[in-house]
């Protein structure tokens, strides 16, 4: 067993950026070497508990950090010779330091998320199906004429699974952040998965229909009296009785099953409820399920690529932007200062900068500064953008 290599894979996995190939190799190593399982458990513990846990709760002032780093760089610069070179080096190191702290904050946030949302869906950059035998199929490579039991439309957004894939009758579909995909399963059930969603299902024509969903899924279940359909959730389960409904488990403190048509029974350890059309089951992890009517336009707006929100804070905007644009927001502000409230609609495919200009800037500027990166946005209440670039 190559401990170093396995450590790197585990770090990539924790980092949320493991390639499908490496994920398969890690999976194989875990199956072949029991000590690799121990190593993974130890590393997860090391990187999310103890000293690291203490760090997560702390507020980090970016301004203070940059000031300290700048002082160190200035002292170092005085020792060196050509003024021009020192200035350039100072700029470069300052840039690296700013970016480093930006990613450090993001890293801390990821760890926090991993701790508070213990069912976090792994992040893949493309849609994949991981078969029961750990084979990973990258769905963007499937040809439109279909092979291995899967076919796809020209846009690679809608897939049809006609039966076992490569003779394997069970697998997990995982979607990347910021994109949604539709799948027709062998029993003709249609599922539409929102970004960063996990759906484990059977591809058999005869096995009981039992699935596991985590993220957001719109289900149009095909009726089949002989094969009951159950969807397990990270907390609770849905007994499907031939119907159309939306599942949202993104936030453990706001799990929702919203019924559009037909009937479902939703249950967890605390309570079981039967939903009628246009009603929803809502609960917090490990708490009793409550029923309520729901705003269909708002709850199902993601099917049109629209994410409506009203009177929310920056912190509450984070998961919305992750879903609509697949971008991370790193917020450098304390809970006490995150007091502004925003309303609007984030539309998938629309420029994120335009979205911020229209919906956020009117209230947030000049108190907050915004830095746009390729895959994330850094929002700070401490300094103006010009100081960073």
């Amino acid at each position: 067993m190559n401990t170093d290599q396995i450590t790197y894979w585990i770090i990539d996995e924790l980092h949320g950026d493991i390639t499908p190939e490496d994920a398969a190799l890690l999976q194989k190593a875990l199956e072949d070497h029991p000590e690799a399982v121990t190593l993974r458990n130890d590393l997860r513990k090391l990187l999310t508990e103890g000293e690291m846990q203490g760090v997560i709760g702390k507020e980090i002032s970016l301004k203070r950090a940059i000031t300290e780093i700048s002082k160190g760089i200035e002292q170092e610069s005085e020792k060196n010779k050509p003024v021009r070179r020192n200035f350039n080096t100072l700029l470069i190191l300052l840039l690296v330091a700013c970016t480093a702290f930006y990613w450090y904050l993001r890293y801390q946030r990821n760890l926090l998320r991993q701790q508070t949302v213990n069912w976090a869906v792994p992040v893949y950059k493309k849609p994949v199906i991981i078969l029961k035998d750990s084979t990973i199929i990258e769905l963007d490579t499937i040809g439109i004429h279909g092979n291995d039991g899967i076919s796809v439309n020209k846009q690679h957004t809608s897939f049809e699974i006609s039966g076992p894939i490569r003779n394997i009758d069970e697998g997990t579909i995982i979607t990347p952040p910021g994109k949604d995909f539709t799948f027709q399963l062998p029993d003709k059930t249609l599922i539409r998965l929102n970004g960063q969603t996990y759906y484990k299902t059977s591809f058999s024509h005869t096995a009981p229909r039992e699935a596991f969903a985590n993220g957001e899924v719109y289900v149009m279940a095909a009726p089949d009296a002989n094969r009951p359909f159950t969807i397990n959730l990270p907390d609770g389960k849905i007994q499907v009785l031939g119907t159309t409904f939306n599942i949202n488990t993104y936030q453990p403190d706001h799990i929702q099953v919203a019924l559009v048509d037909g009937s479902v029974i939703v249950k967890n350890d605390k309570r079981s409820v039967m939903l009628q059309p246009n009603s929803s089951a809502n609960w917090k992890q490990r708490a009793a399920i409550q029923t309520a009517s729901f705003n269909k336009k708002e709850v199902l707006s993601w099917l049109k690529g629209e994410y409506a929100f009203s009177s929310i804070t920056f912190q509450e905007l984070v998961p919305i932007i992750r879903r609509s644009h697949g971008l991370e927001i790193v917020l450098d502000a304390t809970a006490a200062t995150d007091t502004l409230r925003f309303s609007g609609v984030s539309i998938r495919g629309k420029s994120i900068e335009v979205f911020f200009q229209e919906n956020i800037y009117p209230q947030a500027l000049p108190k907050y500064s915004f830095i746009y990166e390729t895959d994330s946005i850094f929002i700070s209440s401490y300094h103006a953008p010009k100081e960073n670039k």
Binding site: D4, T7, Y8, I11, D12, L14, H15, D17, L43, L46, L47, E51, M52, V55, N88, T89, L91, I92, L93, L95, V96, A97, T99, A100, W103, Y104, R106, Y107, E373, T374
Partner: protein, 79 residues
């Protein structure tokens, strides 16, 4: 032009790109080895400063990722 070649030509954006791509891995790798947050952070920033100053030759390694892994290993053993 490859990233390390651009760094060799003093392109600061290339260093930023390199940093963005690997910073978390480097930090986590260093922390796993040192089990000390500030020391891991120091190793992470040291490595990028070193890359900028020394413009190391990547040819002995299969990828930039391998170079960074090796550098973390080297620096954490010394510490």
């Amino acid at each position: 032009m490859r990233l390390m070649e651009r760094i060799a030509n003093n392109d600061p954006e290339a260093l930023e790109t390199l940093f963005m791509a690997h910073r978390q891995r480097v930090y986590m790798d260093a922390y796993v080895r040192l089990k000390d947050r500030s020391a891991a952070w120091s190793v992470t920033t040291d490595i990028y400063s070193w890359i900028w100053k020394e413009k190391p030759d990547i040819s002995p390694f299969s990828s930039v990722k391998s170079l960074l892994q090796e550098e973390v290993k080297k620096r954490t053993i010394v510490k």
